[in-house]
């Protein structure tokens, strides 16, 4: 589904990502791990179109997407979250979800101004979808709060819901468990697995929380200082000597 080949990203003299390859198949959760500054988020930014990679290829469903503008990539069905939550803080929770669905609602101005039946039914559908996902992540009662006033864990969940209402094929989560307490992390764990199982979404995950990564990942890619270090199932990675040295500690 997603196939990244020899991806490189250079910032001036700094080679932030060097020849990284990874792939995500349908119905799969793949994690990228690595020490801080290893270049994980840079890989994400390249895939999601925020950076134009200096080298390599990114194929999504067989089509090359490297260098395409970010909004087009997201319309293809690859949607991401951010390491630091990025919500539309002064808009309400449900408005955050409605913004994300503008594509499903993209009719011309006139039909919206005079509220044609077609426009109404589309709007109702997007409201229903928003309600469904708010219920799913347990935020329905807070639907009309300002998103900026939610607790941190709720903001994290809202960000995932906001991605899901766009009906993506591949969901890219950048450290979704950062700043969550153990109970919230467990909920998140279940949510991500259910996204894969029940909604048939593939997930590409960056995470530092090892228990989460080892629990839910089908495969793991390890990056160190911009270079790929190892790849494989959680068990293989856990036993890989290089990985243990670089990341998990020598003990």
């Amino acid at each position: 589904m997603l196939d990244v080949k020899n991806l490189s990203m250079r910032f001036g003299g700094l080679l932030a990502v060097d020849q990284v390859s990874l792939d995500v198949q349908e119905h799969e959760i793949v994690s990228i791990i690595g020490p801080n500054g290893a270049g994980k988020t840079t890989v994400f930014n390249c895939i999601s179109g925020f950076y134009k990679p200096s080298g390599g290829k990114i194929l999504f469903e067989g089509k090359e997407v490297q260098g395409k503008p970010d909004y087009k990539i997201s319309r293809l069905g690859m949607v991401r979250t951010f390491q630091h939550v990025r919500l539309f803080n002064k808009m309400t929770v449900v408005e955050n979800l409605l913004v994300a669905q503008h594509r499903h609602l993209n009719t011309n101005l006139l039909s919206g101004l005079i509220k044609t039946p077609n426009y109404r039914s589309r709007e109702q559908k997007s409201l229903d979808r928003a309600a469904y996902w708010l219920e799913r992540v347990g935020l329905l009662d807070l639907a009309n709060r300002d998103a900026g006033n939610l607790a941190y864990g709720q903001q994290r969940r809202l960000e995932i819901a906001r991605c899901m209402v766009t009906e993506p094929k591949l969901l890219m989560l950048d450290e979704p468990a950062a700043g969550l307490n153990p109970a919230e992390t467990k909920d998140l764990n279940q949510l991500i697995v259910s996204l894969k199982e029940d909604y048939n979404v593939s997930v590409l995950l960056i995470e530092h929380d090892m228990s989460l990564v080892m629990d839910i990942s089908d495969r793991i890619t390890v990056i160190n200082q911009g270079r790929p270090l190892a790849a494989g199932t959680p068990d293989e990675v856990r036993q890989n000597d290089d990985v243990i040295k670089a990341y998990l500690g020598e003990a």
């Binding site: 997201s74 919500l87 808009m91 408005e95 503008h102 594509r103 928003a130 329905l140």
Partner: protein, 423 residues
């Protein structure tokens, strides 16, 4: 109080003296052909010292004074009350608004011509402020050259009527569309700019348009402006004493009433009212539509908006274009009301005033912006005697607002959306 307060207070008092004394305490007097310097009279000098003393004591006891100010009762005594239920409030508001509009329709028939004229100006500013509210309040794009679109609307009508004899009703959509086109054209180069940079470029754009109008004398008449702009007609009926254009009839003769100059003023007021109401309704609708939400999303977080598939280009350009469109509307009405326009009407100060209206009213809030437009336009007229201090009072009001109510007169209220629980 601490010693540093004393030092600071002394310093402030000295600065007050240093600044005030040369400005107020010394006068230039013409003695024949030469200019001499003279000390001011005793009362001025005393007042300079008094001012310095006031500054000194205020700074000395600043902490205490500000502390006590904080304890004063809140400006809004209703702040603590439970808000009304959504449905009830919406109903009440729509009734009140309908009432106000009906009142506004009949009001001009009972008041003086001057008031109606002023009210028309207020409505023009309402249109301008509502349009700029889209750009600044909703999309968060600081536009300091908004008056350029206003000028485009006004000059479009003036030029079309001068060279091609086009009437108000034809020029209204043309002026608005042309202004929208200018908005689109300005939008392209500034797509990548945000905040300060955007403000500077739009400021420059506003000046370019004004200077162009000023110097392109062969077409625009330069600083002399364009006169003789026709008034709107009502189904081919003119409001002047005599019919100017062939084929038209005059309003007072058709209805067999005596000629009165007020008819024209009232008619213009009604046109401005209808257009302002249309502007408000259309923008209100847009705010609840995907495009309106996209504007706000872009203001809140551009990167997140892009990651969700919103095209920055489309969203920014639509905000610029729609904002400019309504400025073009306002410009056409303005040209028709004045009958004469010159580049002097479209200086930077106009942009600043419209922006001030949006900020005072509360970014994004339509009712707030309308109230602020009324206040900012009418207050200077009421305070004609203090005309010299107008800008001073204006500035003071702005500072006080920013201290006590930075969110504006009536901050934007989010729309409450009822959701059905899904199975």
């Amino acid at each position: 109080m601490a010693a540093h307060n004393f030092k600071h207070a002394l310093f402030c008092a000295v600065v007050t003296m240093v600044i005030a004394f040369p400005i107020l305490g010394l006068n230039l007097v013409a003695r024949g052909t030469r200019v001499g310097l003279e000390g001011a009279d005793a009362s001025t000098i005393i007042s300079v010292f008094v001012a310095a003393a006031i500054v000194f004591f205020f700074q000395l006891y600043r902490d205490t004074i500000m502390g006590n100010l904080g304890k004063l009762p809140a400006l809004n005594p209703l702040a603590g009350r439970e808000p009304m239920p959504q449905a009830k409030r919406v109903k009440l508001e729509s009734w009140a608004l309908t009432g106000i509009i009906v009142l506004a329709l009949f009001w001009p028939f009972f008041v003086s011509r001057g008031s109606v004229d002023l009210a028309t100006l207020v409505l023009i500013y309402v249109m301008l402020a509502l349009g700029l509210n889209v750009v600044v309040g909703l999309a968060g794009l600081l536009d300091l050259g908004y008056v350029a679109f206003y000028a485009v609307g006004a000059y479009t009508f003036a030029l079309l009527s001068q060279y091609m004899g086009i009437s108000f009703w034809m020029a209204l959509p043309i002026g608005a569309l042309l202004a929208a086109l200018f908005g689109l054209v300005l939008g392209f180069p500034v797509l990548r700019l945000r905040g300060d940079y955007l403000a500077i470029v739009t400021l420059g754009f506003g000046e370019i348009i004004r200077i162009l109008l000023n110097n392109w004398t062969s077409i625009t008449g330069g600083p002399n402006g364009i006169g003789g702009i026709p008034e709107p007609t009502l189904f081919g009926m003119e409001f002047g004493r005599r019919v100017k254009e062939e084929g038209n009839t005059s309003f007072h003769e058709t209805f067999g009433i005596a000629y009165s100059g007020e008819h024209k003023v009232i008619f213009l007021y009604l046109i401005a009212l209808v257009l302002a109401v249309i502007t408000a309704l259309v923008i209100r609708r847009l705010m609840r539509m995907p495009v309106g939400r996209a504007w706000e999303a872009l203001r809140e977080d551009e990167i997140a908006a892009r990651s969700l598939g919103l095209s920055r280009t489309a969203v920014k350009l639509s905000a610029f274009t729609i904002g400019a469109f309504f400025a073009g509307f306002a410009g056409t009405v303005f040209a028709s009301k004045q009958g004469f326009i010159s580049p002097e009407s479209f200086v930077f100060l106009e942009s600043a005033i419209i922006l001030a209206i949006v900020v005072l009213g509360g970014m994004g809030s339509q009712i707030g912006v309308i109230l602020a437009a009324i206040a900012v336009t009418i207050l200077p007229e009421l305070a004609r005697e203090f005309a010299d201090y107008r800008m001073l009072v204006f500035g003071a009001a702005m500072v006080l607002m920013m201290v006590w109510r930075p969110q504006g007169l009536m901050p934007m209220r989010r729309i409450h959306i009822e959701l059905k629980r899904q199975e």
